[in-house]
Symmetry: C2
Subunit: 201 residues, 2 copies
């Protein structure tokens, strides 16, 4: 059966992006370091590179918050086509949760950005339909992940825990008290610790 998986890179102190996110630094100060592990494979095959390469495996649709598509003043600007270049690393439909209606934006390589203005449950219904028998992946940011976790709509939280302390930024864990997790797969490396948690109901 298909699952809803929330996959995030997170610092030891629980931030999925650093302080002062901007057009120049969409992940905030030092936020890019959260994702260093995914590019370490440029230097040759590693377990991390293998995990990074399998990022979209079995994923039939993505959901993301509007900040992952664009900065607040650009998201409804027709010339803005996302942070991700002309061939974004998704290759399937991506549902962006926003307050600004916009026609779908087809990109190269199969990615199509769809804009959902009627809430997280509607976005999930649409993503599930687009994904068919494949999984739906929630890619962040923190607020979007929190909303889905609080609503009990996530089956699995897949974390890449980077061994850095950011000290500020977008915190993942706010408001998630009482949710129980069960780690069921752990893959270590010197760069990051990959942990899959079942979200218990």
């Amino acid at each position: 059966m298909s699952s809803v998986i929330c996959q995030l890179s997170v610092s030891l102190d629980g931030f999925v992006a650093g302080r002062d996110q901007s057009l120049e630094e969409p992940l905030g100060v030092d936020g890019e370091r959260l994702h260093d592990w995914a590019f370490a494979g440029d230097a040759g095959p590693t377990r991390d590179a293998d995990i990074a390469a399998r990022h979209g495996e079995g994923v039939g649709a993505y959901i993301m918050g509007r900040n992952m598509f664009g900065p607040p003043d650009r998201e409804s600007d027709p010339s803005w086509r996302g942070w991700w270049g002309e061939d974004p690393p998704y290759h399937v439909p991506v549902f962006v949760i926003t307050h600004h209606p916009r026609e779908p934006v087809p990109m190269e390589g199969g990615t199509v950005f769809h804009f959902v203005t009627d809430g997280i449950e509607s976005a999930l219904v649409q993503a599930r339909e687009a994904a068919g028998s494949e999984n739906v992946q929630i890619s962040g940011g923190a607020s979007t992940a929190q909303q889905y976790l609080k609503a009990g709509l996530v089956d699995e939280l897949y974390l890449h825990v980077a061994p850095i302390v950011l000290g500020g930024g977008e915190r993942l864990w706010d408001g998630l008290e009482g949710i129980r997790f069960e780690p069921y797969e752990v893959v270590p490396s010197p760069a990051v610790t990959h942990i899959r948690y079942r979200v218990l109901r």
Copy 2:
């Protein structure tokens, strides 16, 4: 060579104790759940029980903050002999960092509480001397761990990451920005993820 190891159980959101610590709940609300993994072995042998049983292996002396010895209004009361009963689970000298001088308190089983009033470096010198060729373990709380980490005096951070979200309490990661860690041993279980980090200089 002997090492300085900081060993802590921590929640997903980075707390080593819950909200509202008190005489009745020294670990705060839900804080005891951080340590559930260590007692799971009561039901039979597990990897967690094995790790818990090896807690003091190779440790020749402990260092702890005063809250780990007693509540603020009791620590210099001669009738207060710690939270840990007459035979505390240390069995070697324990150096308590405090502002209140007090004669050493010998307990059953080899534990002796020593009270250090001239700072963390002095406590470490005394603990190293007591430990000889064995390791010194810093057992918390958060503030004591932070002070040693910030001072560059810790070789290893050994975390037991409990899959719970406390939402408040004593946070480990405050003020530790810029310190680099390297995970070098990870032992998974459904109850907790044990991660040993080298603290890089």
